[in-house]
Symmetry: C3
Subunit: 201 residues, 3 copies
């Protein structure tokens, strides 16, 4: 692992989604290993589906022990510090929003790297961002946020992802990445804060 | 995309399953993007699982923008015309039956193309036909039709698919395709119309 | 198929998980084909996910007709003999525990064969062992055992799998396989028998 912007984004996304998975599982009172497993699949779920769809196998997290170690350490630290965290619900929401933004951009970049159509790349980024949380929610027997009414979720990925691809023609890719991550997170957070909804289909 | 019988079947199957997904999602009162996403995953779900199982990656719908565009246009037209459609339930059922037949035969053909055993090809066709609907139903938190008691569903794929493989030894492949699609659809429709059931296992 | 220890373990695991799937489906009163399908996906689910993750495609069960035939014969025999089986619940539990042990070790061995890190191989073995049952339970709309509180499930795979990898440095691989399978099954059975639980996370 060399430390560039993409790698840092990937590590942060992994940490954010692990925390969100651990918090979801602790709310459901799972046992210690169950909590770690849900943290794990939340962190690697989106990227794994992305890798399988584009045929990048063995999938990313299996190629070395780095990602699993980051997830395990994050999960244990989260479990240890849970007493010091005031609001499970807010922490879960913010980590989920952050992971969503980070993984969406990573997913789009992977699609561009293998030469897919920009529109397909936005779909791939949305899948990468959303499906860790989808698998987490299905595993915990909850309706995935992405399918819940009155939540801007995939919308944030599609808007932020499309802007990212447009920005690539204009500014430095690393700066574009950071701005795009901020856009996805902001849309998600503002939509929930101000109860912005899409119309019923 | 060149227009031959297989391509036409694939496009019709994509349209039929998109409509069935959009109707299912509208019944559950999802927001506009949720409706489009459910239409999308219903249309590409079965083929994606098929491609992943046989190692055809990037999976079919990612290889160019045609399939996503067909799905998006179909979804928007369906949403626009929903007021003019009398019975959601009947439209959903007929589109689902049509998609089932079309995708089963496409799936079998893909299996034969890569040299799999005919029995495996029938399984692959059944997976291709059934799993768009399975993912649609799981996403909407309903029990998948394929697992519901007293529904002839996978049975239709297995019978129609087996007849297709037998017909290939006797008649023109394109005519065999059309007959086989008709058989799968007819079995499904007649089974529901006349309440034909399999015995309990 | 040549008959060596790995092949025998694979066949036994397939038979055990088919029976566990068939019993689960019969308890839910599915129709005959539904019962066979649930038996099928329980038997091939874990191995299929493993193959997809490491990029071994077409996945194992599609490469020849042997595995599907073993599953079909097992399913029919199980359905025929159901009257003679006293306790569905105990049979289901024991077959599930046996399949868990057998498939965990097969999964780890496949990972080692493609040169993955030992820690990743234990994860891959756990996935292979657990996900047939997970897909079975999700299909039947039940909470997967792996996520249920107060069940030692993945824990058994992780402990038995880690011991297997350590034993490989010391004793004959075939003997190590058999001992490791026995360890996974025993931990699972003893944990349920004596109600051993992990602490809440």
């Amino acid at each position: 692992m060399t430390l560039n912007v993409s790698t840092i984004i990937e590590i942060l996304g992994t940490v954010a989604f692990t925390i969100s998975g651990v918090f979801s599982a602790m709310q459901k009172r799972l046992d210690a290993l169950g909590v770690v497993i849900i943290g794990f699949i939340t962190a690697i779920g989106g990227g794994t589906i992305r890798d399988v769809l584009i045929g990048y196998t063995p999938v990313s997290w299996m190629r070395n022990i780095d990602t699993p170690l980051i997830i395990l350490v994050t999960a244990f630290v989260t479990i240890l510090f849970k007493k010091h965290i005031k609001s499970f619900k807010v922490t879960l929401f913010l980590c989920d929003a952050l992971g969503l933004g980070l993984f969406t951009i990573i997913g789009i970049q992977r699609g561009l790297n293998v030469g897919l159509h920009p529109g397909i790349c936005v779909a791939l980024g949305t899948i990468t961002g959303c499906f860790g949380g989808v698998i987490r929610d299905i595993s915990l027997n909850a309706i995935p946020m992405i399918f819940r009414r009155q939540e801007i979720y995939a919308t944030a990925c599609i808007i932020g992802g499309s802007i990212y691809i447009l920005m690539l023609h204009v500014i430095d890719p690393n700066i574009a990445k950071l701005i795009a991550v901020a856009i996805v997170c902001s849309i998600r957070i503002l939509a929930v804060r101000y109860k912005i909804k899409l119309p019923v289909g």
